[in-house]
Amino acid sequence: MTKLKTHMGRRAFIKNTSLASGGLVLGFSILNSCKSEQAKEMAVREMPKEWFEMNSYLKIGDNGVVTIYTPNPEFGQNIRTSMPMLVAEELDVDWKNVLVEQAPYHADKYGFQFTGGSRGISARWEPLRMAGATARQMLIAAAAETWQVPKEEVTAEAGVLQHAATKKSAGYGEMASVAATLTVPEEVQLKEVKDFKLVSRSQKNVDAKSIVTGRPLFGMDIQEEGMLIAMIEHPPAFGLTLKSVDGEAAKAMPGIKDVVTIKSFKDGYEKGGFDTNAFPELVAIVGNSTWEVMQAKKKLKVEWQPITAYSETIAGFGGKQTINIPAGLESTTTHKSKMEALAAKPGKVVRKDGNPEVAFKNATKILERSYSAPFLAHNNMEPLNAFAHVAGDKAKIAAPIQIPSFIIPTIASSLGIPKENIEMDLPRMGGGFGRKAYAHFVVEAALISQKVNAPIKLVYSREDDMTNGIYRPTYHATYRAAFDENNNLTALHVKAGGVPESPLFANRFPAGAIDNYMAEEWTIDSNISIGAFRAPRSNFMAGAEQAFLDEVAETMGKDAIQFRLDLLKRAKENPVGERNDYDADRYAGVLELVREKSAWKENDATKHRGVSAYFCHNSYAAHVLDLKMENGKPVVEKVVCAIDCGVVVNPDAATNMAEGAITDGIGNAFYGELTFQDGVPQKNNFHQYQMIRMKEAPKEIDVHFVQNKIDPTGMGEPPFPPVFGAVANALYKATGQRHYSQPFITKKEVVG
């Protein structure tokens, strides 16, 4: 048994009486007004008369119904099911008696409410189980006290407390009032993985019924009394800023209340790493309804002017960092030529093993290939939005965002109110993929509400969303491999860069498996805002690396999977260097599993298959992708996928995520692209930006998990990056041509 001190979430376990009366008590409760179908159904069945709060994650009703507050915001990974499962497992309660409620932002009670970096489950693995286990222990203590029997003899299972010797028995609900008054135990025992009854067994999405019946769940769905609709007008090009606005014509339009300008940051404010914002000065238009505001927005007369170059210090995740923002209007063609020029020059050496220069000099053969990928827009189905009601020095906000704690200081500073006066609800996000980690739009909503002195919902149009992006950067990588006279691989050299960040991971495979290795990087400054996009940097490097390794294997006449396994064997048995960031065994494990499940045959001429494997977010994923050409178009027939992410909490939900990652990867590999001309994004809606649709999605996806008892690691991102390599490698088999530059298909099909 794992005994754990409860100190690590101790503040979270301190009871807060204001919550004891139930519900999300925040004075206002947007999310409560959109009670879930689950809650409605249970209300009909059995709603307790009284709730007893055991800790900030759970309360137990007098009839045994349990409410679990799920701490992290949801954007589709189904953590609103899997996180409460962790609590319920240790509490040992019947899942049917569990109600899930979304916790509001509250750092003291819920810790780091961060949805991103595939860290949700791994970061919550212990604290949430501990919340359940401590409550269970308190219930046991309450029963022991009530029955006057030793604690050790009381069992608690499936919501029932029992004392065998005296045949006493009570539901959790009956003991909850006593349990809630007891002190939190100093230590708790967590279950062993093998004893799980709920975790690792697929549970249905707790929100599915609300979703399929159209209940209001999303930020976009919020309707409050007296709420106005706001939209913003941002510069049409990166590199421009607001000069002046004439809002008279717009204001004269029906339903329009006001036209205001806002400034997202106070002068001198030190930004955090997620305060990214290319357009901090905006025009906002506020009116009664979305359609009216959309119409009036067209009447705004705004003048824009070029920005001047500047540098700023950002307090990011990895400490303070200075970034340079150049002036000017950038174009994709210029980016490309600049990238090619830098790729041809020496970069900054980040890692060097052995003597790559000599190995390349002595090589009998050198294989050199360059890969590139464009900027990508996130294109979440739900455009950016936020609700804000600022009144005096208080703000009530509902923000569909990934990292609430990171934007609170900015909101407080920009509004000029104390942080403590901001209440924030976390409605469901209609997709996130990294974009909603950058919550500038919440600051904008708050500032607009403050200016017009009314509750407002800020709504971005699709065009605003796509052209005011925090994009996946454009990248470039050159790989070189040296071979000796026996066709053995003797050295590998990677040089990668991008606008404005480098995608390189110098210590990832195949580093560690090759005696002579060098990794270099370079960057080009830009004023186009960029940020995290599902598996940042990996989403490019995996494709480049795995496509290159495929060509290396082919050059050596080796089977693509066996070649990778041979390298991993080397990395395991006799690793080169000490900083290799992957576990060669687990890496090989997913390749072996995918080889078995896909019935992979060496040099199989009957299928056009591509294999690819990658490690990121502490997990391992491998795909075998089968593709055929039909009327000149690639059709993905089947993808077999193997993942090692440790214990899988909710297998069917994880499978859904992997299927989504594969489809997303194929879509972006084939079609994903945003280009710029003189600072202007060249696509602004789905008639121009091609998204993968059902016709292009794989006909079949078959997901397998490596079974082990390792604490959970990332899941949302890891299956995504290797898709790009699998697509490239299968495309080569199907067409005889290697594809080096994404998107692989550029012809757009118009769908209506």
């Binding site: 990974q77 599915a208 309707q223 649709r693």
Partner: protein, 154 residues
């Protein structure tokens, strides 16, 4: 502005709006039925799909003035208890990820099954091709449509 009496989910709703207002915004902002979603506003994503009579239409392209007496069904009115065979199949297959596109997907799928109770894969793909799912749930959507098709009373 003009007054319209609309038949929404079997109830008459009166709204006073600009005749050019798309049904999407009439539903969301004026009738407060927010299950119908805004995704693109230009008939490219399908998030706003509703039924006009028995047909799936993009409500972002349907001005309120064009509706007249035709019946409109939204996701909220597809069934009384969320038990339309398509909704049931969606639950059985546990289709949604973020869920934002799913109302539109379900409205397209239910209209398809009404006119073609036993669609082929190709027919499903064609009928559903106007509905984007950014989360990539297409394989599950297809499976759910087949599940619904094989159940009775579509």
């Amino acid at each position: 502005m003009a007054i319209f009496n609309l038949n929404i989910n079997g109830e008459t709703k009166e709204v006073d709006v600009d005749p050019a207002t798309p049904m999407l915004w009439v539903l969301r902002d004026h009738i407060k039925l927010v299950g119908t979603k805004y995704g693109c506003g230009i008939a490219q994503c399908g998030a706003c799909t509703v039924h006009l009579g028995d047909n799936a239409v993009r409500s972002c392209q349907l001005p309120v003035s064009a509706v007249g007496e035709q019946k409109i069904t939204t996701i909220e009115g597809l069934s009384e208890h969320g038990d339309h065979p398509v909704q049931k199949a969606w639950l059985e297959i546990d289709v949604p990820q973020c869920g934002y596109c799913q109302a539109g997907q379900i409205m397209s799928a239910s209209a398809l099954l009404k006119r073609n109770p036993n669609p082929s894969d190709e027919e499903i793909e064609s009928a559903m091709n106007g509905n984007i799912c950014r989360c990539g749930t297409y394989t599950r959507i297809k499976k759910a449509i087949k599940t619904a098709a094989s159940s009775e009373n579509v």
